[in-house]
Symmetry: C2
Subunit: 463 residues, 2 copies
């Protein structure tokens, strides 16, 4: 409903409103969330958008710009005057600002440098923050953290901390402050929650009320570590320290929600043998979509040539008993399916920290038991199917035995590869999600064929 009212507001009258009374327009727009305004702005012409960003207050423009897709951000910043752009950027939260500048740098390095130079003049402190935060990759704690936080020394009083929280809310527009961090010569030595602050006497020293049992992450820790830590302790914010134990920034839980969603998408794509996409399904153009799929698909296809080689090796047996060929798709797919189940279980268990590579022996034990049981169930089903198949020359019992024995072997092979391969891949420091379901299935296809054609050939006496 809000979006509808907003759409009317930003409709044909917008241009008039911008010309005649930008202040009234701003007042009206301020009622809406920047995320909703951004959705509407995406559908405006670039000219109108630029006019909006120039005429309306910088703080408002900064909020909306933050919510726009990165391509549009870059386009807008390229077309604004350097000064207007720098003024809008200086109103952003430091962590959002860094993201924008980093995206911009990929498209237009000169513009990014120019804007930083202008930013330096507008607000040297922020420019310094951006330089510091830009040094970190996007997917580590340092790349997620903000420098908007309250840090005070232990001898400061509760009332001073409250003053400082108020100043941060007033000057930097910070919505909520969760903790006051206590630092002693830059080192993080304690944490005071807002609750402690509210409940303490105003002249108590922070050093006396702080908790010294601090949970923190290193600036170089992967974003998955940040997400796990914040999820485990249900914290609202997590301090980030460097090698020396100095406080460098704070990661807030709202950014962690985005990280968790992003990581889950990346893993799902990798598990489906697709290179992780940077943008949404419809935002990714067809060439990128093709690229994200062609490498793995071709690799798996060329790897699949091995199945052809195995089949060629056994072509004598296959022509001697064509019934043998009839069960090939069924048997190899059962291996792929059981491998896919194990891989899904283990990859996800690794992602949430339930299982580690050093648990491989326990995993092996469990998978042997479970996959043997599963294999026996499928083996019985397979026997029944094979018993009623086959030509007049085939012995139905022998064929059933051949199919069911192979099924047990192939299902177990699938599970063992599906579970151990992700552990091995994590062990050597790669992302276990690359041992995708198709990858496991292709591997198991080859081994499954060898198992089936050897066993069946021997049982049926055509080896």
């Amino acid at each position: 409903m809000a979006a509808m009212r907003l759409a009317n507001l930003l409709g044909p009258d917008l241009e008039d409103a911008l010309k005649t009374d930008p202040d009234a327009l701003h007042d009206a727009l301020e009622e809406f969330h920047p995320e909703d305004i951004a959705e509407i702005v995406e559908d405006l012409s670039l000219e109108l958008t630029l006019e909006l960003f120039t005429k309306l207050p910088d703080e408002f423009s900064a909020d909306v710009l933050t919510c726009l897709p990165s391509e549009l951000q870059t386009e807008i910043l390229e077309r604004l005057s350097r000064r207007d752009a720098a003024e809008i950027l200086s109103e952003m939260d430091p962590d959002d600002l860094v993201d924008v500048v980093q995206e911009l740098r990929e498209e237009d390095e000169k513009l990014a440098d120019d804007l930083l130079a202008h930013l330096e003049q507008a607000d040297p402190e922020i420019a310094e923050d951006v330089r510091e935060l830009s040094a970190y990759p996007e997917d580590v704690a340092g790349g997620l953290m903000t420098t908007d936080y309250v840090a005070l020394s232990p001898e400061r009083k509760v009332w001073q901390a409250i003053e400082e929280v108020r100043r941060l809310a007033l000057e930097d527009g910070v919505e909520t402050v969760y903790y006051v961090y206590v630092v002693y010569s830059e080192k993080l030595v304690g944490v005071v929650s807002m609750r402690d602050l509210i409940l303490s006497e105003s002249d108590q020293e922070l050093g006396d009320i702080m908790s010294e049992n601090i949970v923190s992450v290193r600036d170089t820790d992967d974003q998955e570590v940040v997400a796990h830590t914040i999820a485990k302790y249900d914290f609202m914010a997590l301090p980030v320290i460097d090698e020396q134990g100095n406080l460098r920034g704070v990661v807030t839980v709202d950014d962690v929600v985005d990280v968790v969603i992003e990581e889950a998408t990346e893993d799902a794509h990798k598990m489906g043998a697709v290179e992780a996409l940077e943008e949404g399904y419809f935002e990714t153009d067809l060439v990128q979509m093709f690229r994200s799929r062609v490498f793995w698909l071709s690799l798996l296809f060329v790897g699949g040539f091995l199945t052809t080689t195995v089949m060629e090796r056994f072509s004598g047996q296959l022509s001697a008993a064509v019934t043998l060929a009839v069960f090939v798709p069924l048997i190899i797919s059962s291996g792929g399916n059981s491998g896919s189940q194990s891989a899904a279980l283990i990859i996800r268990a690794l992602a949430v920290g339930d299982v580690e590579p050093r648990d491989w022996l326990r995993v092996l034990g469990r998978e042997v038991v479970v996959s043997l049981s599963l294999g026996l169930v499928l083996g019985v089903l397979g026997f029944a199917r094979a018993y009623f198949a086959g030509g007049p020359d085939d012995d139905p019992i022998l064929l059933g035995v051949a199919v069911s024995l192979s099924t047990v072997g192939v299902v177990m092979t699938g599970s063992l590869f599906g579970s151990l391969l992700p552990l091995g891949i994590q062990r050597v420091g790669l992302d276990p999600a690359v041992s995708s379901t198709p990858f496991i299935a292709s591997l198991v296809d080859v081994i499954g064929l060898l198992i089936y054609l050897s066993i069946a050939g021997a049982v049926l006496g055509v080896g």
Copy 2:
């Protein structure tokens, strides 16, 4: 490091400390996070754990109990006296308390009722909250929300709101309050952020400073909707309203992080054709593990009998030209792989709200273009492989044409099924993640065989 010191503390001396000086032990333990204490408690004997829960203050016990796995929670509550148990429960946050009672009810309905009756005496208000919250399933907004929040009428002053926030922190131990909700005869009419509160004059009325553009969720909304909304707006908390627009509770972002992780795990399992597990990999016993896999694996296996039927139909052609059989595994797996890629992309895009079922025509268009391109690449590779395969009787060019044409067809079929099936499944109200990679692969196996054997039979003149 904290965990190590803690382990020492909870080692052999724990029993002594509990007997001689429980207060000193409590002071020492209070330095640690309940999540860390819970990890150690998991390794203690049940007797010692019970002693710990009886001797230490209820508030402390409540915090630790909240962090324990649900089976252990139930065990502890069964062994404590009803009164002790009810007193500990009454110190829990309402949303955590409901989770505990709901888990308990599954194991031991009588105990759950008994404890609620005792809770009724200890704290009637909390018992009422639990009854209200228990009415909701765990995976909707109502099941996630807490009733610990500040709601005031519009004519109340800023200083009164601040007093109320302080009371909530003091009495209910709420760590951080994010927003004050403004209600008029129970209806949610506005929101005031802590920032607005801090920056306003203390005698202003809430009605004058509140924002009326409220983002809320319905109590019956799925937890995915809650997660999307909070992720989109970067809110710290989201109000939950009922059909009449009355405020019923608040969902905080830390619970949403858990939801997002849980949903991603469920989806990953389903995509691997495993029933979603309730507990972690090692916590799930082998029988449950077997059960979570046997249904889908058997279903896919029996479905796979269709491949056998197709192969039997074509057994004349297969014995006439055994080379035909040689390419069966390669061709059908290429269909499964391309289907798996499309399914991963679409299932994830549906999960994050990028794509909706009504976009099916746009999806179809994109997938046709991308899969045709992918099919052509694999077709060329397949031609090359087939050209160098085959017996002395086979025409290498004809074989190459048969394999490459089939590959194009099978890759396209895989992509179309992989992308459209999840959309269809979501359309009829089921979870698209059940159209797992193995499910798509098995379906495409059958169709792929039909395509390949028909095309190849015709091209090679053995049809």
